[in-house]
Amino acid sequence: MAAGVSLLGLVPLGYVAVTAILTGGPTLSALIFRARVGELLANTAGLVVVTVPLCALVGVAAAWLVERTRLAGSRAFAILLVVPLAIPAFVNSYGWVSAVPSLNGLWSGVLVAGLSYFPLVYLPTVAALRRLDPAVEESARSLGVAPIGVFFRVVLPQLRLPILGGSLIIGLHLLSEYGAFALIRFDTFTTAIVDQFRSTFNGPAANALAGVLVLCCLVLLMGESGARGGARYARIGSGSARPAERSALGGWAPAAYLFLGLLVALSVAVPFASVGRWLVSGGLAAWTDRYLLTALGQTIGYGLVGAVATCLLAFPIALLAVRFPSRVARILESINYVTSSLPGLVTALAFVTVAIRLVPALYQTAALVIVVYLLMFLPRAIVNLRSGLAQVPPGLEEAARSLGRPPLLAFFTVTLRFVMPSALAGSALVFLGIVTELTSTLLLAPNGTRTLAIQFWSRVNDIDYVGAAPYASLMILLSLPVTYLLFARSRSDRMVVNSL
């Protein structure tokens, strides 16, 4: 079963490779080595190179201020800084375009994407800061290092993994995001592929661009894994659960408030204000949109089915990884990670093609949409199930067996019960992903599909910003509880953020 899921996961990569071969060298190079591709590459690379370090900087600074200083209201800031995760990037972009219609180009892309994605570094950094052993920092101080030196020589190096991991996820999001950049008329590979696909359906041009996009993804993946190296900073000692000391900011406090206030204002207040403004100007009439309930129902339906299916399929993979670790299990697992790192767009393209060529009956069905969701969001479920399974002491199950439970029953009554919270958390994250998914749904969904994201997008494309507002607010409302769950888990020692 685990192998089956993973084989399915090979489809997108296989598709890119096969189309590249079928297209043939000369045609391919003609399609790739042209000015337009160079321009897209420059845009996309520029976006990644500027946004990722900026997000890392902002995320780490915010995490440190919230966790390690005596700023009043740091708890409130801690929550507010996670809220951007509940606002899909394309909704944030809509909010910003509503506020500043002239937005376009690289710097606008950096602004909108950065404000959407910085919590992906902020959240794991907060979690890591809370887990650091304060005695280690005290050791550095007793060795004559001033507080600022302690931060750079001791704290920051220990934050390397969450920063790198968060940065990688941001990079992958930047490569695969469509809606946010389309709205501010900033062309990246992904926006260009969608445009190509819409004009020529399944032409070789779109496929060639997808190939380059996949290469970009692989470069990011390898870059991160290279930078990570063999680093594994286990907390060595048992240490006490003593929280780290917070520093007084003194004269720097106003600057810190300004920074955090501005961050919250730009990343939360602006999109909320825009959505609110359109909601007010639409009044009650906007809520009488006849597709609103359908869209809500369809979105929740896709979300629930996708979440349950993903969790069920993730379970054998997680179980293999935790209970029967082997090379094969590791390979199966890593296939899923690579596949989900590919833009949803590429996965969608691959399955559209495969369906049309091999299984036409599947084309334009909800089942195909679910399969693509599954591949995109599988790691979110695996990561959670893994940590859940790893936390169940095998001794517990053995105790149940020594008390007369048959092995299978022991597994179901003991282990499964303990894993339920992790399974729910994983499902919730998959649900969040599906609710805010736009690009691949646009490509794959059967005619007449009206999810919140699709309805929102079609309203925005018709410049009906008022009509889009109810859909935007519903997506945010559905996402907020899951975002809070992420926030709570990041404070309770469980890492779930690395698969967003």
Binding site: G144, V145, Y233
Partner: protein
């Protein structure tokens, strides 16, 4: 390990007192953790602060390292006030070595990088040589310097932490229960090694522990901390054999206690008339260490010194036996006896006291 291989100490040998603590008080919220603590740590000495958990011993050590600051009183290091009214010298400017409970090695650095962490910039040139010398000082193989801390055993980690702190040639070293996480056998060995390394370098050392054996073996001076106050300060022998009060006595070792009646130089208790050195007269409590009590067979016609008792339980403990004796009229006491003396349940024996009893006014 030889003196020549250890880093030389540049200061601290001249002052009579390396650390001078006067009237220290510290509270967390409304709870007082330390109250009016006075303590002198002579230069070059090894002082142990011993107390049960919650006695405030770690807090006291954190005040010395500069991780925390007292609410009252002053702390002098050498001749400089480092904490007191209007003065709060932070940890990184105190030049005091500190070894945390579990070593607190930097997990992202190798052993060598850990050890050289506190070196000044100009010393980094001969890093390898200095690191090797420091590792040898704590009896570790210099080849460990490329390892990661999590590849070392607990005892090795502790020794790396010590080497790291020694790299800055501090005049004072603070050890916060550095051996408590180690296995029993390893604990004693590591303790001896650390004590030797610190003595060789002539470093004034303050060790915090809850382990009474460690307290009595490690230092020249023992400070007993109880409920945030110093109950007694003295040499290990003094605090053990002439404890200031009953609680201190019981904390530092096993005790056999009788109600007694004191009269000039003597005390009358269940064991008969025993010498004592206090000026106390009247109702009192007499305390003996179990090793002061000698159990012998009851021989007809023998000298009546001592007290007749009946063996009610014998617990085999390998090298020794733990006897539970019932004394006429005063209940039962437990005494470990060594050697081949095979006592059995129901035997009649004689218990005698050696040396002086310690007496306290009856509570």
């Amino acid at each position: 390990m030889s003196d020549s291989s250890s880093p030389s100490r540049e200061s601290g040998a001249i002052e009579s007192s390396a650390i001078d603590i006067r009237g220290i008080g510290k509270r967390y919220g409304a709870t007082p953790v330390l109250e009016s603590i006075d303590l002198d740590v002579p230069a070059g000495s090894k002082t142990v602060i011993v107390g049960s958990s919650g006695s405030g011993k770690t807090t006291l050590l954190r005040l010395l390292s500069g991780f925390d600051f007292p609410d009252a009183g002053t702390i002098r290091i050498g001749s400089d006030i480092v904490a007191g009214p209007g003065v709060a010298v932070p940890a990184h400017r105190r030049g005091i070595g500190h070894v945390a409970q579990d070593g607190a090695l930097f997990p992202h650095l190798t052993v060598g990088q850990n050890v050289s962490f506190g070196l000044d910039r100009h010393e980094r040139g001969d890093r390898t040589a200095i690191v090797a010398e420091l590792l040898e000082l704590v009896s570790l193989d210099p080849s460990l310097s490329s390892r990661r801390p999590d590849e070392l055993s607990g005892g090795q980690q502790q020794r790396v932490a010590l080497a790291r702190a020694m790299a800055r040639k501090p005049g004072i070293m603070l050890l916060d229960e550095p051996f408590s996480a180690l296995d029993t056998g390893l604990r004693a060995a590591t303790r001896e090694l650390v004590a030797a390394a610190l003595s060789a370098a002539g470093v004034t050392t303050v060790l915090v522990t809850h382990d009474r054996e460690e307290a009595l073996t490690f230092g020249d001076q023992v400070a007993v901390l109880r409920d945030g106050r110093l109950a007694q300060v003295g040499t290990p022998v003094a605090v053990y054999s002439t404890p200031a009060d009953l609680a201190t006595a019981r904390f530092l070792g096993d005790a056999v206690v009788f109600d007694a009646e004191a009269s000039g130089g003597r005390v009358h208790c269940a064991l008969g008339l025993v010498a004592q050195s206090s000026s106390l007269v009247g109702a009192c409590t007499a305390l003996f260490r179990p090793e002061q009590l000698v159990v012998g067979p009851l021989l007809p016609g023998a000298d009546a010194a001592g007290c007749v008792a009946r063996v009610v339980a014998v617990e085999f403990q390998g090298a020794s036996q733990l006897l539970t004796l019932e004394l006429a009229g005063t209940g039962s006491i437990e005494i470990p006896v060594t050697g081949a003396s095979a006592h059995r349940r129901g035997d009649q024996v004689v218990v005698r006291a050696l040396g002086d009893a310690v007496v306290f006014a009856a509570s």
